[in-house]
Symmetry: C2
Subunit: 373 residues, 2 copies
């Protein structure tokens, strides 16, 4: 059987391994925490630091293929593995571009991909020189994840919240919509695009509220979104799954915000809502099978279950019974023993022909279901 | 986290464990073969003989709940576990009725459930006395599985093919359709019925050809099927998932053929075709969650992938690429290293609004995809 490794054992690894069990594949997983959500679902678990060169190289050298579920991995080791003939998807070259925000922004510029204007700041003193560039968003070059590593700098008073480390400062865009476009690319360069996802934010809390797919976009914007996302992915020139996050501004112009070179939160609904989920699709790519069908079976929404503010400790799911009774809801709990404020603990997907109804049910689930301790 | 054990590690266990990863549950599995399809997908794998009293009891005594994916388990140990306070679903009492074909037939009789007329035969000499009862089907009382343990006795010439062991001899019914009705029952006795499945047999080979859900039945027969299946399950008086297989004869009369007290091949399409799959449903029952919604999202067909006659050895999947390209097909391969003639190696589910199209695609998949070595 083909041997495939995953670096990282969180919920993305968990859902990848659920999908792997539809194929004849021997799964290997490296992760520091033996109780991580994915740790028990593989053929071989290796406890180790995915940021460590030797650990990653030793783990990967007996494998046929290797992928990631988080960007913070040792890409030097992946490069050596690639040279040794292991299929590394995404390629280390693509990963290098994406995992450093400065390189990522420069890449968009080189590729002629529309993306918010930016300047590079090496430290806080350089940021202080950019008052005329405000309002802007400061993003640390490396190590950011899930909102960490991003600061809104509305005006001079916010500057000291910025990062005293290499970072990009991006012009704020007057955002009308935030869209995620997941693209799958196989070894031969064939691409498949999922229906785009509308990421709806709570304007007060600046937190992701829910996600709806397909996004309600005009024909023209839809085409811009898919062409722009395809241009990003073709430029990266790597097999894999890519989530391109885009802004649509009030004039209907499309800008790339950022790209993830892996399965992504904005594609979780594809498990139930698509003929081929993003997880299934990545296995097809890793195993050299044909790409699957990304088309939607029904419109879908995703509600993320984050650890409720003020609660840390063994997780409890208040309101779970009520949501389990909802006729068109699919509950996914990631099996994390401990909750913390904002921690991703699960998600609920809703399928409904009627998009208004999706949004109503998403709101109800957000009201009902709370992860507490 | 709640600890749940599964006895048996085949494809049913595999699909159960795929579904388990949507809930916070610690999974334990006992199985003799450490390379069985489900062996790597649990938190704790215990190599052991599920027919052995001590093995099962030791395995189960630290668990909160235990279930089975095959009937040939030690039910005395399950009974002791039940007395010790472990939730055993299905209950040992229900399992005892079902796993012995003589008790199962007597149970239908006691419950007033229509089922083909039968006589009990203790050995071959007793079978020889039943010439006037032919044509009939001889079914061994214990140990049959997947067609093994069943012999068609058309006339006196077939009698020597019968079993020289306790068995039931059932009158042959002029079958118009074979239907499977999956019923879920929770701890409180609430039941949920899946849409019935039409099991279409190849008349030449007497092999299951494909399955279509919902079955094309008149309103009256549909009601008979669900009432009959419910009567069986209520009589068993046990939480769990039950697959009731029924015959519809040429007069539209409904007879129970047999019942399985577990997730079942005829329900595999519920993974993609139902809001709550049979596997998800069993976890809800084991974890004391509310029953899910068994309703169909779309009509579905299942094609079983059996090891091609004449091939034994490391499995290869001829025609796999072509089927993976089909837009509405979902491929499930069970990861068994070795194929053998007739071995269950996987299944393909097809979703389509149009039932004619389902049947056409099922035929095409049967033509294209062969498990060889």
């Amino acid at each position: 059987m083909i041997k495939v490794g995953i670096l990282g054992g969180g919920q993305l690894g968990r859902m990848l391994l659920q999908a792997a069990a539809n194929y004849p594949v021997e799964t290997h997983l490296m992760e520091n925490d033996p109780h991580a959500p994915a740790a028990h679902l593989c053929h071989r678990f290796v406890q180790g630091d995915i940021r460590d060169f030797d650990a990653v190289y030793q783990f990967g050298k007996e494998l046929d293929a290797i992928t990631i579920e988080i960007e913070s991995v040792n890409e030097d080791a992946l490069e050596k593995l690639e040279k040794a003939g292991v299929k590394v998807y995404p390629t280390p070259a693509a990963l290098r571009i994406i995992k450093n925000k400065i390189r990522q922004k420069q890449f968009y510029q080189q590729q002629g991909v529309p993306s918010p204007a930016f300047v590079v700041t090496g430290d806080l003193s350089e940021l202080r020189l950019q008052q005329s560039f405000l309002p802007a968003v400061h993003k640390i070059a490396e190590g950011g994840y899930d909102g960490r590593g991003v600061q809104l700098i509305h005006g001079p008073g916010d500057i000291e919240k910025g990062f005293d480390a290499p970072a990009v400062l991006e012009k704020m865009v007057a955002i009308d919509k935030e869209i995620a476009q997941i693209v799958a690319v196989d070894r031969l360069g064939n691409a498949a695009l999922y229906p785009p996802v509308d990421m709806v934010f709570d304007p007060k809390l600046n937190l992701l509220d829910y996600q709806v797919s397909p996004a309600g976009l005009s024909e023209r914007v839809l085409q811009d979104v898919s062409e722009t996302a395809l241009r990003v992915v073709k430029g990266l020139n790597s097999p894999g799954i890519f989530a391109v996050e885009l802004f649509v501004d009030r004039n209907g112009s499309v800008f790339v915000n950022e790209t993830a070179p892996r399965v992504h939160n904005s594609g979780h609904h594809t498990i139930e809502a698509s003929f081929c989920s993003q997880f299934d699709m990545l296995w097809r790519i890793l195993l050299d099978y044909p790409l699957g069908n990304p088309a939607a079976i029904l419109p879908a929404a995703i509600v993320n279950l984050l650890g409720e503010p003020g609660y840390s400790g063994p997780a409890r799911y208040a309101g779970l019974e009520k949501v389990l009774r909802m006729e068109q809801a699919f509950v996914h709990l990631y099996g994390k023993a401990e909750t913390r404020p904002g921690r991703k603990m699960g998600h609920v997907t809703i399928l409904d022909r009627n998009v208004q109804e999706l949004v109503r049910t998403a709101g109800e689930i957000k009201q009902e279901l709370k992860v507490i301790s």
